[in-house]
Amino acid sequence: MTATQLENSNTSTLRTAGKVSTIAGIVFFAAGFEIIPVSILRSPWDLLVPLILSGVGMTLLLATIERRSRVPYYLLIPGGIWLFAFFVVPMFRLINVSLQEGIFPNFEFAWAWDNYTKLFTDFLAQGRNSLLYALTATVVAILIAYPLAYFIAFRGGAYKNLLLVMLLMPFLMPFLLRTLSWKIILADNGIVVEVLKGLGLLADDGRLLATGVAVVAGIVYNFLPFMTLPIYVSLEKIDHSLLEAAADLYSSSVTAFRKVTFPLSLPGVVAGTLLTFIPAVGDYVNASLLGTPQQFMVGNVIQSRFLVVLDYPVAAALSFTLMLVIVLMLLPYIRATGTEELVA
């Protein structure tokens, strides 16, 4: 009786010690990376202290749980460290940089909220382009992907797998070359422009290249599989007896589609929308290669501020705002699907 009590109190002491040590390590680590604005790092080797602290802490925490249930944590540790060190830490570092001020290479942390207010005056056009192009591209992608996925899922028959392979095959061509190819297709004297001019849909001196149309065309093409595959998966899962039941109850095929197939495929459409919209809104390759500075998107600004202008704080503020917008969009989705489905 006393032995178990002693053991219990020992375990809880160990657990508390482990927690304290882990948290101390993480705080120290955060300070070292200037995530929290205290500068204590004198050489990169100082980071060993928090690493050892949190290492000891986690070992203590592991020691408090049963031997057999430690296995999953061992499996998670290597990947977890990678994700923490190179995803979580940089994200906080980005927040820190976004609140700095100064001129390259002397930036100081100063709670500089101007970096954020500046975004709404200086980069409104690029923000508008990003939203407009990404939204248009997502809608167009649904219009192309849905019938295509429907065809593969319901009319594919024995060729279903072949059709899926064919769907993915074009994306084995390198991304940038695929994008550059659209320069040939939409060229000023190319066939698409000539046909549109012939039909009177485009003015005689009109062009597609170097316009928003070209940028959207590139985005739609490059991210189409991200839309098609989730829609296909949700259509594929539909129980065919439901459709038979609808037909037995004298519903026309249009009604059956509207009342049965389409609602059941909505999870795929939502997933596809996220998978297309997110890379589209952050993309700058299509705008760089197929557009002009007038078509530039938020990604172009982040890229040029970080790598050309060397204005890190504003670039970081823009980058973090983009992340925030996307996380806000994702929250209802995560809540609706649950965490288990996210990585499935």
Binding site: F33, P44, S69, V71, L75, L76, P78, G79, W82, L83, F86, F87, V89, P90, M91, R93, L94, N96, V97, I144, P147, L148, Y150, F151, R155, N161, V165, L167, L168, M169, P170, L172, M173, P174, F175, L176, L177, R178, L180, S181, I185, S253, L274, P279, G282, V285, V298, G299, I302, Q303, L307, A316, S319, L322, M323, I326, T339, L342, V343, A344
Partner: protein, 302 residues
């Protein structure tokens, strides 16, 4: 009972709808393959200017210069960049596959505290736009004064590949039979022996598919690499982007076509292998589970 005759209107409507869909699908596939076809066709273009956007006649010159003197000649910088990309994709996908497979094992096989956090931690990198991931990593590398190059690219590429590896391996792990592992444990195999002799061979196809996916993702990445490559390390996508600003040598089309054909072959072989594996797996499962009497019945029917 008389069968209800289908209304003639709805039949023609169905027919039209069916064909519209087929026509649409054919057009959609043409749309998907058109840009790829153009890249391949323009690798044979006898272009005169700096850009390769208008057709000027057929030539084998560019293919000859790539295969004839890959390390001298005008294709040399592109070939060098290609080699950097191949090395990077191999190394980073290998590391990401190792880390990701361990995570997938933990997620599928164990119930543990912190599962939800793990799932979200894996989902977020996939949901983060590449510019954000690339720029945040650069912000950290700048602070640490870490020289940018192959090392920083390796860190970044492993990071954005891990989640996709987990998804792929998890999908494969979910369907398989845990009884085999328990049988091994009953026969006094320890955990490590069970893993090496039973679990690993079973999940190997999934792990291999994950490795290929990781390789493809890393090989084709431009945005994150653009942030973290530094001035001296040039991957193939970085080189193409740089070249596109100055003019586009047709050798790029040749290399692109080669990459395309090689990856198509790898993809088809992989699809064949996976299909055969799942066929033999389901066949052997049937033999295991169906009692002898049933089996003979099946044979006589078949």
């Amino acid at each position: 009972m008389t069968a209800v005759a289908p209304k003639p209107m709805s039949r023609t409507a169905g027919l039209v709808r069916r064909h519209t869909l087929t026509v649409f699908a054919v057009l959609a596939f043409l749309y998907l393959f058109l840009p790829v076809a153009l890249i391949i066709v323009f690798s044979f273009n006898a272009t005169q200017g700096r850009f390769n956007f208008t057709w000027e006649g057929f030539t084998l010159e560019h293919w000859d210069s790539v295969f004839g003197s890959p390390f001298g000649g005008s294709a040399a910088p592109a070939v060098d960049a290609l080699l950097v990309s191949l090395r990077l994709a191999f190394a980073s996908s290998l590391a990401a596959t190792t880390l990701g497979t361990l995570i997938a094992l933990a997620l599928v096989r164990y119930r543990f505290k912190g599962r939800d956090t793990t799932n979200i931690a894996l989902f977020l990198p996939m949901a983060t736009p590449e510019v954000v991931m690339g720029s945040s990593l650069l912000a950290m590398f700048l602070l640490l004064r870490l020289p940018l190059g192959f090392g920083s690219l390796f860190i970044a590429h492993v990071l954005f590949t891990i989640s996709y590896v987990v998804v792929t391996v998890k999908a494969r792990l979910q369907g398989y039979d845990r009884n085999l592992e328990e049988a091994a444990m009953d026969l006094y195999a320890n955990e490590w022996q069970t893993f090496r002799k039973v679990t690993l061979p079973l999940i190997m196809p999934g792990v291999f598919a994950a490795f290929l996916l990781g390789f493809a993702l890393s090989f084709d990445d431009f945005i994150i690499s653009n942030f973290n490559a530094g001035p001296r390390t040039i991957t193939f996508p970085l080189w193409v982007f740089g070249a596109a600003q100055r003019g586009i040598p047709p050798e790029i089309n040749v290399l692109g076509s080669i990459i395309f054909f090689v990856t198509v072959v790898v993809m088809l072989v992989n699809v064949r292998l996976q299909a055969r594996r799942s066929r033999t797996a389901s066949a052997s499962a049937e033999i295991d589970h169906v009692p002898v009497a049933d089996q003979s019945e099946k044979v006589s029917q078949g």
